[in-house]
């Protein structure tokens, strides 16, 4: 464009200098017009855009995370881009990441089940079973640790574990690196997202972007919270809300109006994120720790049999329940908390045991209302959001 403009000006000068202006006046008008037209486009001095593919489009985090949740702490070295999130979603759904190309992350984390699956323990490579229940994947940006035993602090670390686990995707990293480098699609998309050839570090960053971007915020519970919008809940659900958020306080007849669920599953995210306040706890499933949970990582006696308390958003679609999937229905879960807590467990959370080891003994009506309230936490928009679905 610069060259064309220079030639136009030279020609215009020549016409003006020659003196036969009447004859040249038409050409002068044409040239001036062309000059003006050529000036409408910006002259930045840059190489035209079609010369390369790396043009990441930044995503404002406020477009992802709702104001009601607040902005989480996000990794500064991995800002959201449309290309990065898309690449991460592709990798999440691609069985290429498993040794025999049969299993993807989405095999055990299915969107219609809030990214869990309806098995007590997932099945991986060659039918080998995992030791724990598949965890749901949403609102992960607010978490401080990952996995049931909280052993990993970032998602970019996390993704390498199931990829390499022998009973999950059973892949080796050198093999994965070579597969990605030879794949034409990933050559193109890594270039677009990170201006790099396919590599494992950027793979983990892309997957981190995708996983962080998955947000569930539109359940009726979220519309109701913190309790101003009563109309969105039915009468039973509202009664359930009072039980869920009420303190345990036995009257003279031994009846409690509240069940204290909110201590470990409270707030807009329906989850306690602080480990000390109930975010990591034993809920008295067994009289003594069977699966060591966090204790298996820290080797501390106080942590034996404790696990990360999950969010209860979308709980109605994430059966079976608990770290080992032992409860098949929400009713079984409620029965445990009402009548089956093992107060002898040495590490049961003080919040649960600080009422003299007395079972709640909720009435059937209370149990039904609680289940109704839990069902109001289902977010159909999230479960069907194409932004999180299989891109292939």
């Amino acid at each position: 464009m610069i060259l064309i403009k220079h030639e136009l000006i030279s020609e215009l000068n020549r016409l003006l200098i020659t003196g036969n202006n009447m004859k040249n006046i038409g050409w002068i008008f044409i040239l001036v017009g062309m000059l003006g037209f050529s000036s409408c486009t910006k002259e930045t001095g840059k190489v035209p855009d079609d010369a390369g593919v790396y043009k990441p489009t930044l995503i404002d985090p406020t477009d992802i995370f709702p104001a009601e949740f607040g902005l989480p702490v996000l990794p500064k070295d991995n800002p959201f881009t449309e290309e990065g999130v898309l690449l991460g979603r592709m990798l999440f759904y691609d069985p290429l990441l498993s040794i025999d190309s049969s299993i993807s992350c989405a095999s055990c984390h299915r969107q219609e089940y809030a990214f869990t699956e309806p098995l007590d323990k997932s099945v991986g490579f060659r039918g080998l079973r995992n030791m724990r229940n598949s965890m749901p994947l949403f609102n992960l940006a607010y978490h401080h640790s990952y996995f049931w035993d909280a052993r990993v602090k970032t998602l970019r670390e996390l993704v390498f574990e199931p990829i390499q686990a022998h009973n999950e995707m059973a892949m080796t990293l050198p093999t994965l690196r070579e597969r990605l480098k030879r794949n034409k699609r990933y050559i193109d998309y890594f270039k677009k997202a990170f201006n790099s050839e396919p590599n494992l570090h950027d793979m983990s960053l892309a997957m981190e972007q995708f996983l962080l971007s998955i947000v569930s915020k539109d359940s009726r519970f979220n519309q109701f919270f913190p309790g101003d919008n009563l109309k969105v809940l039915s009468a039973s659900e509202l009664r359930g809300a009072f039980i869920y958020n009420g303190l345990i306080d036995f009257d003279a007849n031994g009846v409690t109006k509240g069940a204290d669920c909110f201590h470990c599953h409270g707030g807009e995210l329906s989850q306690q994120l602080n480990a000390g306040m109930g975010g990591i706890a034993s809920n008295g499933l067994d009289p003594a720790p069977v699966d060591l949970g966090v204790g298996g990582v820290t080797n501390r006696s106080q942590d034996m049999g404790t696990f990360k308390a999950p969010s209860l958003l979308n709980i109605a679609v994430t059966a079976p329940y608990m770290h080992d999937g032992r409860f098949k229905t929400l009713e079984e879960v409620i029965d445990h908390y009402s009548d089956g807590v093992n107060f002898d467990n040495p590490n049961i959370h003080p919040q649960m045991a600080a009422h003299g080891g007395i079972q709640l003994r909720l009435s059937q009506q209370q149990k039904d209302d609680l289940v109704a309230y839990l069902r109001s936490m289902t977010d159909s928009t999230f479960l069907n959001n194409p932004a999180y679905s299989n891109p292939f």
């Binding site: 104001a67 009601e68 949740f69 607040g70 902005l71 989480p72 702490v73 996000l74 607010y142 919270f225 913190p226 309790g227 809300a241 958020n245 303190l247 306080d249 909110f262 409270g266 707030g267 807009e268 995210l269 306690q272 994120l273 602080n274 480990a275 000390g276 306040m277 109930g278 975010g279 820290t298 080797n299 501390r300 006696s301 106080q302 942590d303 002898d344 040495p346 049961i348 959370h349 003080p350 919040q351 649960m352 045991a353 600080a354 009422h355 003299g356 080891g357």
Partner: protein, 263 residues
């Protein structure tokens, strides 16, 4: 000629005036007239103890004696503060940071560094465990993600009921040496239990850095003139007649739990 000279002189004077007016020394610490107040750095630590001994490291099941023949172990202890400030000899206060802080005595968040503390003599440290009503019942998500007041960080917000938990102390106890451990849980909340603390201190801040430690004995919350026996009542969440009475005793006892030292 004279007129031109006058104009030139005026212009010259104007230029000189502009030149000197742009040469004020850099204002570093808000001092006026070019005076820069000397400042130091303060390290403020909140240290959890039982019976004047540091809390046992996490993972060690060590019970320490408290009143009423019982022994206790703290598994979770954190609290939120507002109006955190040093108090000068003349009663003026120097706010530390924005005045808010979250101390987790059983975690790793209990030492805080504050820069640019004006040098001079200080006679105390003040803070409020709790907040004014507008802050307590305001939208907690207005705080930045890494601010001590953000509930996604501190876990100390009731959500449904609105308002913060000002202090949470949880743990286990034994009624006697051979007893099966029980649990205790004391959560301070609601506006009636906002508590102000003033800790007397003889502190001269000069030089580069000072360290002040606030040592807090957990057992003193349950001892003193109104001892709390866990075997009788081991939980208070600050609401309901029984819980409110117990929380009042817990906080009255707490006034004797704090010691402050320059270290």
């Amino acid at each position: 000629m004279l007129k031109n000279r006058l104009i030139q002189s005026f212009l010259f004077a104007a230029v000189v005036a502009v030149f000197f007016s742009s040469c004020e020394p850099e204002d570093t610490d808000g001092g006026s007239g070019g005076f820069v107040e000397p400042t130091s750095e303060l390290e403020l630590a909140f240290v959890g103890q039982i019976a004047d001994e540091p809390l046992p490291p996490k993972g060690q099941d060590i019970y320490k004696e408290k009143s009423e023949g019982e022994s206790m172990m703290v598994t979770n202890w954190s609290f939120l503060m507002s109006n955190l400030a040093l108090v000068k000899e003349n009663g003026d206060t120097v706010q530390l940071g924005d005045g808010y802080q979250w101390a987790d005595l059983t975690g790793t968040r209990n030492v805080f560094n504050y820069k640019k503390i004006p040098q001079g003599k200080y006679t105390g440290l003040q803070f409020t465990m709790g907040f004014d009503s507008a802050t307590n019942h305001g939208n907690p998500q207005v705080w930045p993600a890494d601010h001590p007041m953000n509930p996604n960080l501190n876990g100390l917000h009731w959500g449904w009921a609105g308002g913060y938990i000002f202090q949470a102390m949880d743990g286990r106890y034994k009624a006697n040496a051979g007893a099966t451990p029980g649990s205790f849980s004391f959560h301070t909340a609601t506006m009636q239990f906002v508590t102000r603390y003033f800790l007397p201190l003889d502190l001269s801040i000069e030089g580069a850095k000072h360290r002040v430690a606030v040592r807090i004995n957990a057992d003193r919350f349950f001892g003193g003139a109104q001892p709390i026996k866990f075997a009788d009542k081991s939980v208070s969440h600050s609401e309901g007649a029984h819980d409110e009475l117990l929380m009042r005793i817990f906080l009255d006892n707490s006034l004797y739990a704090f010691r402050i030292y320059e270290e």
